[in-house]
């Protein structure tokens, strides 16, 4: 079974990669399995400077999902390039860097910083992280801003840029169109939906930041819908994510129009989520009558 996928900057042996923020920079999960099994790895967000992130509690459990408000804690792009990314060199897999910021300038700074790394193959532009007070979310819901930040990052980056869309919008196709107009090489969708959970005993939101991003199987139908809608409108490469747990879920994303997929929350439940999905995928594709991954992409569209 041919499971390879080729999208800008990425020649993937299989379409499955851990999602940003759910795999750190790979070290911890490398004790469970050989990271070379992975199609690619999307590492934790990088910002211009070190960020401490939000106060705790930062996570909560919901029905078939979880909320998180980590707040982009990371050591900053410079240290990430110098201290974190080289570790992944030894693995035969592609690395995608996740770029975050509060201002267009910060995004550009991070993209510039990442130009110094030889360990990555593409950028994922996180314009949708809902957990940063200053600005973070506007980029993800305002098409003009989204287009601008995409354009500015494309201008400086030597890597293909996948823009990660926020699902917290009325019309995902407008956002998709805007960032493609801005020069995005591909899309990554979806990020988390903004949610909240109450602590009944303490009479306040569980998450210290009050709101958090909802991820996990709960949001899969929203991810599938949005990918379907965007794929219906245009032929841009899409890395799909949101609630993937099994190889059947991966096939569902492929049918909806994703070219590759990322697995986030499922890693927490099962550290072997990615390699297990990768192992199952050929069987699943075969079972449903597909001869390769490419063969399944977009095949769920009613014409």
């Amino acid at each position: 079974m041919n499971t390879t996928v080729n999208i800008p900057g990425l020649s993937l042996k299989n379409p499955v990669m851990p999602a940003s923020g759910c795999f750190g920079f790979g070290k911890e999960y490398s004790q469970f399995y050989d990271l070379s099994k992975l199609g690619a790895i999307i590492v934790k967000a990088a910002t211009g400077e070190t960020r401490y992130g939000n106060t705790t509690p930062r996570v909560a459990e919901t029905s078939s999902g979880m909320l998180n408000a980590i707040g982009l804690q990371n050591p900053g792009v410079e240290r990430i390039v110098a201290e974190e990314l080289p570790f992944l060199r030894t693995y035969e897999t592609s690395v995608i860097a996740n770029v975050a910021g509060s201002t267009v300038e910060e995004y550009v700074k991070v993209a510039n910083g990442l130009n110094h790394s030889v360990d990555i193959s593409a950028l994922e532009l996180n314009i949708s992280c809902p957990n940063v007070k200053e600005g973070g979310v506007q980029f993800g819901t305002d098409p003009e801003l989204a287009k601008e930040v995409t354009y500015k990052v494309k201008e400086v980056s030597r890597y293909p840029v996948y823009v990660k869309l926020s699902p917290n919008v009325s019309d995902i196709t407008t956002m998709a169109k805007a960032v493609v107009d801005g020069g995005a090489d591909g899309l990554s969708m979806i990020n988390t939906l903004t949610g909240m959970q109450m602590n009944l005993k303490q009479r306040k939101p569980i998450i210290a930041n009050q709101t958090g991003g909802l991820s996990g199987p709960a949001i899969k139908p929203i991810a599938i819908r949005m990918i379907y809608q965007v794929r219906q409108m245009m032929d841009v490469p899409i890395i799909g994510m949101g609630g993937i747990v099994t190889s059947e879920d991966v096939l569902e994303f492929l049918l909806a129009g994703a070219n590759a997929v990322a697995v986030g929350t499922a890693n927490f439940q099962n550290p072997f989520a990615c390699p297990e999905i990768i192992e199952q995928l050929p069987k699943t594709l075969h079972q449903y009558g597909f001869s390769s991954v490419e063969d399944a992409i977009g095949k769920g569209h009613v014409t």
Binding site: Q31, K44, R58, Q73, F272
Partner: protein, 253 residues
């Protein structure tokens, strides 16, 4: 190295009000160190539950956990039965550096569900010939567990909030009246208790064990951080760098 194992329950019983003792069989039980935790998956729940190692039987290749029903997950766990399998990540986190410490007299201070890890610690200390004193706090009589077991390790004092058993009040009320000098204290329990104890014993060397809501439990997600006391802009991960910290290392919030 952390493993993911499917472990059969050898034994499960209620040892106090809504408090359960579970014995699990694992080939690597002997690797578990006092202070470490295991991370348990539960059907129908997205996130694993961290629970401390309360005891290890290296010969039988078993270890014990003790948990109290707190919410839905621990309620579900309480309904598991002998023979059922639990999906567990182990061993997780840091441990009390028993091997590298030289001490004669240790004070264990535990509150509620902070008591279990201290039992395994106490046993390990006792085996090393350390003199152990235990001060355990519970809400009320019905919640008290493992008193006898701790008594085997040395002097054991119990405090209950409502005075229904032992001393009425907090562990700090008992500690105040202890007069023997100690070399190290080890404490685990709710944060207000940890604050009170570390304050009260600020002139002593000590180790604390922290709790926080966790995502991954293995150090990737930054859910469980705690700021450093020296530099609150820097942090440690409770699941990986902790749960055990030296008493002055981190800021209690």
């Amino acid at each position: 190295m952390i493993n993911k194992q499917l472990l059969p329950i050898e034994h499960i019983r209620e040892i106090a009000e809504e408090t359960f003792e579970v014995v699990l069989h694992s080939e690597i039980s002997a690797e578990l160190k006092p202070g470490q935790f295991v991370h348990i998956a539960l059907h129908g729940h997205m996130l694993r539950r961290p629970v401390s190692v309360a005891d290890v039987d290296a010969n039988a290749k078993t270890f014990t956990i003790i948990f109290k029903i707190f919410g839905e997950g621990t309620r579900a766990l309480s309904q598991y039965q002998q023979g059922d399998n639990l999906d567990v990540l182990l061993p997780c986190g840091s441990y009390y550096p028993v091997e590298s410490l030289s001490l004669d007299h240790a004070l264990l201070v535990g509150g509620g569900i902070g008591v279990p890890p201290l039992y395994y610690l106490g046993k390990t200390l006792q085996e090393k010939g350390v003199h152990v004193t235990s001060v355990l706090g519970f809400q009320s009589k019905s919640q008290v567990f493992y008193e006898k077991q701790f008594q085997q390790l040395g002097d054991t004092y119990i405090a209950t909030n409502d005075g229904s058993y032992g001393t009425q009040g907090f562990v700090t009320d008992i500690i105040q009246q202890l007069d023997e000098p100690i070399d190290y204290y080890f404490t685990c329990g709710p944060t207000p208790m940890l604050k009170a104890v570390t304050n009260q014993l600020q002139d002593e060397n000590g180790y604390i064990s922290l709790e926080e809501r966790m995502g991954c439990g293995v150090g990737t997600c930054y859910a469980c951080v705690v700021p450093l006391r020296q530099n609150p802009k820097e942090s440690k991960k409770i699941c990986k760098d902790g749960p055990v910290f030296s008493a002055n290392e981190v800021m209690l919030q």
